[in-house]
């Protein structure tokens, strides 16, 4: 990960600029702003920029920022050390070559009792000390900047992913039609083509209605209950064609509830669950009862089916938890959803939607 080149150079400019500025300022306040000090600063500046840039190239080249944290810290130190010594050596050479040494430095080099090389080494070491500080600060800024940028990007990515998942989930819930159901229905219809052509024709119509409505469903937030009921009736008629006498269907629908708005495919999901987890598991089948009434200003939709509510509710989670999620997204905490064992052999799923809710 590289920060944009422009920002990098801006950082370099500010960093090394302030280094020069501070040094010049101190020299000025101690009244030592001589041409030599300026030239020396120039040398440090050029070498500093050059070698910090080299350090950046090394970091990028070895992909240091992609490694784990411990390795990063260790390698930052190693690189900083190496670069520091190289720079110090070069600056000593340059300072000697252009005769830009301070008085103390010149004296150190000229000590007669020790060999010239040891003096020079001492000079390099003392130079390295201040260079190390500079490059260490440089590395620290570089490292921290990237560390923060990286973790912020990760956070952003996670957030984006989460919202994408949520959106997709909602889309699938709405458009959800079990492919198993489609193929089983087609198979039954094919068998009926010979046995009962009239029923087969009806089956094709019912299946088309369901497919069409499931495609349109994701466009609307709410549909009239009547429309939803049509789909459910088609769906159950098809399941009845498959299960034959193993499935009995009963409707108890209050006419006043027909125009009320409901979330599309919600009742459908509950009915599908009733078949999938109820009827299809009973050897002798059972009953599915769809009830729609108004109670205390709540539109109550209930689906009862023969079957047993077993412990592993989480297994059938998608349909149910999506129902809860949709209700809370649409109505806040005003709507209710519950599923319970209504009697010894009947499971009931019930949704209560506030009647005067506006969308």
């Amino acid at each position: 990960m590289r920060i944009g080149n422009r920002r990098y150079w801006l950082f370099q400019l500010i960093g090394w600029g302030s280094f020069v500025f501070i040094n010049a300022f101190f020299a000025f306040s101690f009244d030592q702003l001589t041409p030599i000090v300026f030239k020396r600063l120039g040398v440090f500046l050029v070498l500093g920029v050059l070698f910090s840039h080299l350090m950046r190239s090394i970091i990028i080249h070895f992909g240091l920022l992609q490694k784990n944290l411990n390795k990063q810290v260790l390698q930052f130190f190693v690189i900083t050390f190496c670069v520091t010594f190289v720079v110090s050596y070069i600056s000593v050479e340059v300072l000697i070559g252009f005769n830009l040494m301070k008085k103390t430095e010149a004296e150190l080099l000229d000590r007669a009792d020790v060999s010239f090389w040891i003096n020079k080494l001492l000079l390099v070491l003392s130079m390295a000390f201040s260079y190390f500080l500079l490059f260490f600060i440089w590395s620290l800024i570089y490292f921290v900047y990237h560390y923060v940028a990286k973790s912020r990007k990760q956070q952003m990515d996670t957030l984006q992913l989460e919202s994408l998942v949520k959106e997709l989930e909602l889309k699938t819930i709405k458009a959800h039609i079990n492919p198993h159901f489609i193929f089983n229905s087609l198979n039954s219809i094919r068998a009926l083509v010979d046995e009962n052509p009239e029923r087969a024709r009806k089956g094709i119509t019912e299946l088309s209605n369901i497919l069409r409505s499931s495609m349109q469903a994701d466009k609307a937030e709410a549909v009239a209950f009547q429309k939803e009921l049509f789909i459910v009736k088609d769906y159950l008629a098809l399941e009845n064609m498959r299960f034959e006498d193993r499935l009995k269907i009963e409707y108890q629908v209050d006419e006043n509830t027909l125009p009320l708005p409901v979330p599309p495919m919600m009742l459908q999901t509950l009915v599908e669950n009733a078949i999938k987890h109820g009827i299809s598991k009973q050897i002798h089948g059972g009953v599915v009862r769809v009830t729609s009434t108004i109670k205390n200003n709540f539109h109550e939709l209930s689906v009862q089916n023969t079957g047993y509510l077993n412990g592993h509710m989480s297994g059938e989670g998608f349909g149910l938890s999506s129902t809860t999620n949709r209700l809370s997204l649409l109505y806040g905490n005003k709507a209710k959803f519950e599923i319970k064992q209504a009697s010894a052999s009947l499971v009931e799923a019930r949704v209560s939607i506030p009647v005067e809710a506006d969308y």
Binding site: P179, H180, F183, N184, L186, N187, S188, R190, A191, L192, D194, E195, M241, R242, F243, E244, S280, K281, Q282, I283, G285
Partner: protein
């Protein structure tokens, strides 16, 4: 080939029967609407082939197979490939997606006839149904994983409480059968009760070494070492010297 169709939907069975009319080599002798019915009909009529729906009320097709003493050839039928993928893992002969494409059905039947052809030499062994021959296959289900295993591929049965551990390939799943019950059903020409805890496949023995107390130590082809009890050693030597 005598076949039984097992599917909980009458229309699905009717449709498959109709498709099978084009294949005179397959004779549908019966049908069943659930796993229980399926098991009893398979036991009483011993079909060569079953068409098996996977999702059925009560028990799934896999559960049903694991309860059979020996598995006939199976062609799975399913509406959705979520389960078909699983069927592949159990190396079933084939699976068909509903609505069944006639071409795929023909392929499956031809493939089956091909394997049947290879097994003709074993047909006389089918005469005694209570004893499993080494070419019989059994269906083994261990949790989510299932296998069709030929008895000749099984190295060893090991008793673990009420269960038996079945060793084949690199797998050793548990089946709910006692070692004694297994011994009664296995052909003693191929399977030998080495001791209280083990039944070994005689063709899967790699090495035989003498052991303490005049017993023997068998090393199986999978590397398992099985001790033959002293009493059984006498019997073992008798059998091997024949």
């Amino acid at each position: 080939m005598r076949a039984i169709i097992i599917d909980d939907e009458r229309l699905a069975r009717a449709e498959l029967k109709k498709l099978l009319q084009d294949f005179p080599e397959v004779e549908v002798i019966d049908e069943a609407a659930n796993a229980e019915e399926g098991i009893s009909k398979i036991d009483s009529q011993q079909p060569d082939l079953i068409f098996l729906d996977i999702q059925m009320p009560g028990k799934t097709g896999f559960d049903m197979l694991s309860e059979l003493e020996k598995a006939p050839h199976v062609i799975f039928t399913t509406a959705y490939d979520e389960f078909a993928l699983k069927a592949f893992e159990v190396n079933a002969l084939d699976y068909l997606l509903k609505p069944v494409e006639p071409k795929r059905l023909a392929d499956a039947i031809h493939k089956l006839q091909h394997t049947e052809g290879k097994e003709i030499r074993t047909t006389e062994e089918y005469t005694n149904n209570s004893i499993l021959s080494e070419h019989d296959q059994v269906f083994v289900k261990d949790g989510e994983r299932c296998w069709f295993v030929r008895l000749s591929d099984i190295r060893l049965f090991e008793s673990v409480g009420n269960y038996a551990k079945v060793f084949f390939g690199t797998n050793k799943p548990l089946i709910l059968k006692s070692l004694n019950a297994l011994e009664e059903r296995l052909d003693e020409k191929f399977f030998f009760r080495a001791n209280r805890k083990h039944i070994v496949n005689l063709r899967m023995i790699d090495k035989i070494e003498p052991y303490f107390n005049g017993g023997l130590l068998l090393e199986m082809k999978g590397g398992e070492k099985i001790e033959v009890s002293r009493r059984q050693t006498v019997k073992f030597k008798e059998m091997m010297s024949l």
